[in-house]
């Protein structure tokens, strides 16, 4: 894959540190008091989703990480294994519950997700930003009350719990923003 020199450092660069893939989220070139060039960087561990602050010396290099993003369709779940299929080459990938992380809450068979591969192995998967899912259970709706300031928790067919306006009911389809888990609107089934 080659490597990146400090002069190539920029936001979005995918690199390897101690065997883990990282994405550079910030890189500040500093050179205090006519001193040596320093690169103060913030990197996100793409496996563990933790942040790393590290300072590099001008001329340092980091190995490039073979990180790719693919569109993968969720096929099925078997106990703690989640099986996806690459939309392009039909290759199947199995992810553990840890790797799927919070995404499981929105996974419905057939849903096309975005999967990140490191050295051709899956490390994470994210659902589409907006998903439409059916309400599996909630307290009965209050007839005639369409005020949006009244809310209640609902449980979706995939297991996610979402706070919704009080007027929705079991069997309704709703649109949810998966980035913050918020209800967006009632959708037509």
């Amino acid at each position: 894959m080659g490597s990146y020199n400090t002069s190539d450092f920029k936001k979005g660069l995918k690199v390897q540190i101690d065997g883990d893939p990282y994405m550079m989220v910030e890189c500040n070139f500093v050179k205090p008091g006519k001193g040596n060039a320093l690169y103060k960087c913030k990197l996100r561990n793409l496996v563990r989703n933790t942040m790393l602050d590290r300072t590099f010396k001008g001329g340092d290099s980091l190995e490039a990480a073979d990180v790719t993003e693919i569109a993968a369709q969720f096929l099925y779940r078997q106990q703690d294994m989640f099986v996806f299929m690459d939309q392009e080459n039909y290759e199947q990938y199995e992810l553990t519950k840890d790797q799927v992380d919070e995404t499981w809450k929105y996974l419905k068979e057939g849903m096309v997700c975005s999967m990140v591969l490191f050295n051709n192995k899956p490390i994470s998967v994210s659902p589409p930003n907006h998903v439409i899912l059916k309400i599996d259970y909630c307290e009965p709706s209050i007839k005639g009350n369409t005020a949006t300031n009244l809310t209640k928790p609902v449980k979706l067919e995939t297991g996610a719990e979402v706070i919704c306006p009080a007027f929705v009911g079991i069997g309704d389809m709703i649109k949810v923003d998966t980035r913050n888990g918020e209800y967006l609107e009632r959708a037509k089934g």
């Binding site: 002069s7 070139f29 001193g35 060039a37 790393l52 602050d53 590290r54």
Partner: protein, 330 residues
């Protein structure tokens, strides 16, 4: 770098409001110096001489002997600051001089760096570091309207923010501070030298606190970082000072070194360090040394990063917001 221009790359990265502020600050800078009887001067951007500094890399330009062979000819240097030219003018009788010019430094690209940038540089004969700091504070006050600058010595700032004596601590002791404070470094930085550790601690622990409430002048640098400043004997510190505003290094000043023998020794040492770093040697003899051999009057001088000044005045976060066409669009 992607050199294939995108269609919108012809546009400036700074807004017209910022460009107007820039013009206004240039005018106010000129008015400030005119009111104090400074003469505005111009010296070559392209010179046979260049400052020799371990960590400053000048851009070399070849002046071809023959237009058909553009790569062959005499090497000249784009100036990293107008220091040499201005000091030659002092040696030739200049009293109080200032210049607003472009300077060039290879490899310096970032939110606070552009390889081509605007410097305001001035010298006044007879000034020591004390008057030099006062004049810098006055200019900062006039342009930024943030009040006069506070002052703190390099030693006191390190004591306060890093808990260590920067003039006496060993490299190992400095490294221990970095470790204790959780500063994560690449392997190549782990073996840095004493000045390297001081710079690291300065960047991580000290600079973020400087000039937060009011502008701050950091003074009395380690003698090993004297550059072109005089070194005082007791305590052994360089008569060098820097202005910080909101953690951003804005200006660097000296009570100027006038002894040519000391400069020759520093030039040799800097070139030796450059060789060790795998960098090319720079010419050690210069017309500045010739001027110093003849006699350079005592003075204090300061170089101020004008783009950063505009950035701070505008409340912007990067130079690209106050430069019409930064290097990516130059």
């Amino acid at each position: 770098m992607n050199t294939s221009a995108r269609p919108d790359d012809f546009l400036p990265t700074a807004t017209w409001d910022r460009l107007r502020l820039r013009a206004e600050l240039l005018a106010r800078t000129r008015a400030f110096f005119a009111a104090r009887d400074f003469l505005e001067v111009e010296t070559p951007l392209l010179s046979a001489d260049t400052v020799i500094d371990r960590h400053l890399d000048p851009l070399a330009v070849t002046l071809p002997h023959d237009a058909s062979a553009p790569g062959v000819g005499r090497t000249m240097w784009l100036q990293t600051s107008p220091e040499f030219g201005m000091k030659r003018l002092l040696a030739a009788g200049g009293q109080a001089l200032y210049q607003i010019t472009r300077a060039f430094r290879a490899g310096e690209i970032g939110a606070l760096h552009n390889p081509e940038f605007t410097i305001v540089e001035w010298y006044r004969c007879g000034d020591t570091m004390v008057e030099g700091m006062q004049l810098l504070s006055d200019l900062s006050e006039a342009l930024l309207l943030l009040g006069p600058a506070d002052r703190i010595s390099y030693a006191a700032a390190f004591e306060q923010h890093a808990g260590i004596d920067p003039h006496r601590a060993s490299p190992d002791e400095l490294a221990a501070v970095a470790k204790r404070r959780g500063i994560s470094l690449s392997e190549n930085l782990a073996g840095t030298d004493r000045d390297g550790w001081l710079n690291l601690l300065l960047a991580h622990l000290v600079e973020p606190h400087l000039g937060v409430a009011r502008p701050m002048i950091l003074y009395d640098y380690p003698a090993s970082q004297a550059a072109l400043a005089q070194v005082h004997d007791n305590p052994v510190v360089a008569r060098r000072f820097e202005l910080y505003v909101r953690g951003v290094e804005l200006a660097n000043g000296y009570q100027e070194l006038i002894d040519p023998a000391v400069l020759r020794a520093r030039n040799r040492a800097a070139n030796a360090d450059r060789t060790a770093d795998g960098k090319p040697l720079l010419p050690t003899e210069s017309r500045l040394l010739a001027a110093m051999d003849r006699g350079l009057p005592p003075s204090s001088g300061v170089a101020l990063g004008f783009d950063r000044l505009v950035m701070l005045a505008a409340g912007a976060k990067s130079l690209a917001e106050v430069i019409a066409f930064p290097i990516e669009r130059a």
